[in-house]
Amino acid sequence: MTQAGIGLRHAHVVQVLNERPAVGFLEVHSENYMSEGGPRRRALFELRHDYAVSLHGVGLSLGSAEGLDSAHLDRLAGLVQDYEPFLVSEHLSWSVAEAHYLNDLLPLPYTEEALTLVVANVQRCQERLGRQILVENPSSYVTFAESTLSEPAFLAEVAARSGCGLLLDVNNIYVTAQNHGLDAKAYIEALPGDAVGEIHLAGHRREELEGGVLLIDAHDRQVCEGVWDLYRFAIARLGRRPTLVEWDNSLPPLEILLGEAAEADRQAAAALETAGGLRGAA
């Protein structure tokens, strides 16, 4: 059985129900289960008997200046009650403005104003759910001139002030670092390691854009060697953490996704062996 988990997508649900593949856990997008009833909810109820479930939200919009949508937060609390997930996570981003939901993880300026807002939203969420959540670092394509904090410093402050944990998305760090000319390993070193409760891995796409290269967080292919390298670096620094492979677009057969989860286990083991060897030699 792998320790790593997989993002469960609708096209794989029947096969997972029938075959119950040996994976560490299943993660779903919370919003997809916010219906009153229906087969999706029923399938997840069945699967939670055999698997640890992680609820990963893309719509709470912790960075929204207009605050959280109470109805959405109530529905999330209902899911937490129904499915008893071992992890609940959301993103450091916003997607709601003027009560319109934009279905993307939009970037925040890293200012004191934004920090105060995000901390308040995270606290409100944690109080409503009655538990800690993890907040994920985003992929981004722009930065803001007014930012006064680096992204990892901002995340560290959010965790320290709100008591939330962090979901370290290694692919997002790779993408963001490449897009903005940052040092990805220095980014990881700047995060409070104890706060990291989960790691995400995924594939990204390279695009030529006006004479430069832009990395797009596409979740449409296998994890690249650069991201594996960064994952090994993170594991060597943090030790093992629940690790998830995400794949959302151009979804492959389930076996390929399971293979990625197995690869994540191998990479983590290799990283710990190397780290142990280094410590032993020192």
């Binding site: 219906s35 709470l60 403005a97 934009l102």
Partner: protein, 250 residues
């Protein structure tokens, strides 16, 4: 700029403008701000068009995919999602499509979209056990006529001027002609059937809260030969109703 104003301006350029305009957003990207902002704009629009395509696959096929995507892109500008629960996104699309000028010559498109949305609602509605026929047989026969049946949370009745049922199955252009469609989900599967005219009147009256006797009278008025028992059996096996009420004694 205050964060709230910044997010409103950011949202507007992603959703409503014809091109992503980075001016005034305070973003920096080495002189490539417009191209970078366009990535977000593309993410937002392509993903929401994809949500509508997934909810209205037969409508999209009847439209032609390019035409459907164009219509969807116009719809989402005027009616972006009101909540993050995207399984509800598209509820206003059938009505919007019926008023969309480029589709004026194909009124069946909005009708097919209505059917697909009814199926979508049925899929995600609350679960409930369908009414059990044995419950009815446990009642004294003289009480049956006064029964009011309560529609199952997933049950929908749809009346159209087109033969949607056959067209939904074949993917071909619906023919004109009145039709009443019953959409239900007794358990995990969405079921769909076309009702004959008398059966349609009966179903409409029952869904409207009429007693069995009243509904039967209305139906027999338009279809004197209607087999009421067969109609009721069809509703029971389809899962149209989940409960019943007896009139309170006066």
């Amino acid at each position: 700029m205050a964060l709230h104003d910044q997010q409103r301006a950011f949202a507007a350029t992603l959703l409503t403008a014809d091109a992503a305009d980075p001016a005034g957003l305070g973003i920096t990207a080495d002189g490539r701000e417009a191209a970078r902002l366009a990535v977000y704009r593309n993410n937002v629009q392509v993903s929401l068009i994809g949500v509508l395509e997934a909810a209205f696959p037969v409508t999209a096929k009847l439209c032609g995919l390019d035409n459907f995507r164009f219509a969807a892109s116009r719809y989402l500008r005027g009616q972006p999602p009101a909540e993050a629960r995207l399984l509800t996104y598209g509820d206003g699309f059938p009505a919007w499509l019926s008023a969309f000028k480029p589709a004026a010559g194909q009124p069946y498109l909005a009708e097919m979209a209505r059917l697909e949305w009814a199926r979508n609602e049925a899929l995600f509605a609350a679960d409930a056990d369908p009414l059990d026929a044995s419950l009815l047989s446990s009642l004294p026969p003289e009480a049956i006529g006064d029964l009011v049946l309560i529609p199952h949370p997933a049950a929908r009745l749809l009346q159209s001027g087109f033969s949607l049922h056959a067209a939904w199955q074949s993917g071909e252009v619906p023919k004109a002609g009145a039709e009443t469609l019953l959409i239900t989900r007794p358990d995990l599967q969405v079921l769909q059937s076309a009702l004959a005219p008398g059966a349609g009147v009966l179903a409409a009256a029952l869904f409207d809260g009429r007693s069995l006797t009243e509904a039967a009278e209305q139906a027999l008025a338009v279809a004197p030969d209607l087999d009421l028992q067969a109609c009721l059996l069809h509703h029971l096996t389809s899962g149209s109703f989940s409960r019943y009420q007896l009139p309170t004694p006066t």
